[in-house]
Amino acid sequence: MRPGYFAILLLGLGVVLAALGSMVVLLLNIPYEFSNAWLTVGVTMLLFFLIVVIARYIILLWLGYLHHLESRIEEDDPLDLFEPPVTIIVPAYNEGAVIESAIRSLLALEYPAYEVLVVDDGSTDDTYARAAALEGRYGDVVLRVVSKSNNGKASALNTGISLARHPFVLCMDGDSRLSRDTLKASLRHFRDPNVGAVAGNVKVVNRRNLWTRLQALEYIEGLNMARRAQAFARTVNIIPGPIGIFRRDVLQQLGGYETDTFAEDADLTLKLLTAGWQIKYEERAVAYTEAPEGLLDLLKQRYRWTRGILQALGKRKAWLIAPKIGAGVWLSLNTMLFEAVIWPTVNVIGNLVFAIGALTMGIPEYVLYWWMMLTILDVAAALYAVAMEEEELMLVPYAVLYRLFFIVVVDVAKMFASLEELFKVRMTWGKLERAGRL
């Protein structure tokens, strides 16, 4: 890590701890008057919220930092080269405009020998023809193209897994791009025979408007920070769709991707975890992907993620209740439930209760202090996470808007999605609209 970023990382950590301490002091100084039951409930909820906030940040930051240190130590060992052949599976549906550039970028990865397997999922445009024209051998890299009838991404990936010629497979999205050292950085984790898969690092590429910049920050601060912490315990609970690397025989044993949930990547990850496989995270294996550019598409994505995660967890209810193969997997599944349902609900309702409570108690300034400290906490966590990934520092100020409205909008959508999943409201399938920025 570059020295400047290390200093920012330490600064971020310091501010997080200071903000957490201030929150405790603030709460201890609120003039509690438990004159009625509602007030008691409100203050109790607030205390619970505070404890959860503190515990969550401390655990995520600390485990994330340990994982970061661990990665650097492993990375520095030049004698431990492990570069087995890999098949990159590219599911493609109506990607005619971008498939050639996507293939060319995949042929230029830094890795000794690998195969790129494009699975055309019954496209109605010229995706297959354009990809097939490039089929061939490029030095030690082989490009193959197959076509099948349209059955969705999961089916295309399963076809690719069946046809892959190498013992490791990288599953990605047709409209994502990989960093050049993705394979080199991620395959080394498979030296450990207990590791069944490696989750990559997804980054937003179309940072063009407020929504996409906020999502770029969210991926770095929210999603990757949690994933890094889980990786220290080898129990990453979502291998993201745009980049996941697997042992092919493990996928075949487990039956590959299933299509009975709206989050096939989360479902497959849980399959691996509950089968006893360890899952690691590699932050240098980067997939650049397009994030939704409008509010309604963002809501659609989060709605599907939340319901998909709940469906995947619903298939494994028994695993949520008691540890079966160790506390790590049990904790990882419960963390998933917490982050998908409990945390968003607590965030929205907790803040509402606090705002209403502070107004009715005649102490609105406490709302200001509370909000400021949560924002400072978010800004500090953003600094920490951005420094950890050596990302754009210009994303950090967006943490203010992130706290003020982005997280509220997303959490409200998650709450509704959870309710609809609870009541089994019918869901429709559909492809997210992409702007074709890659």
């Binding site: 089929e135 030095g139 059955n151 299509t259 809501l299 509402l352």
Partner: protein, 66 residues
């Protein structure tokens, strides 16, 4: 009204308005989804093509098409 009160009022109003707008956006999203033509495709009913594949060794290297 001092500065603290003004700022806290702004935050409370911003938060409540965001919640209301978030609920409104969600309803708008549901409305949009309802108006879209529904696809007949239901992956849950599709058979997954999945069979074990035994690869042949890759031949010697060349720059010829496969």
């Amino acid at each position: 009204m001092d500065l603290n009160n003004v700022l806290s009022t702004i935050i409370i109003v911003a938060f409540v308005v965001t919640v209301v707008l978030a609920v409104g956006s969600y309803m708008l999203y549901k409305l949009r989804e309802r108006r879209r033509p529904r696809s007949n495709f239901d992956p849950a009913k599709e058979n997954i093509f999945f069979e074990r594949f035994f690869p042949k060794p890759i031949e010697g290297q060349s720059r010829q098409p496969l």
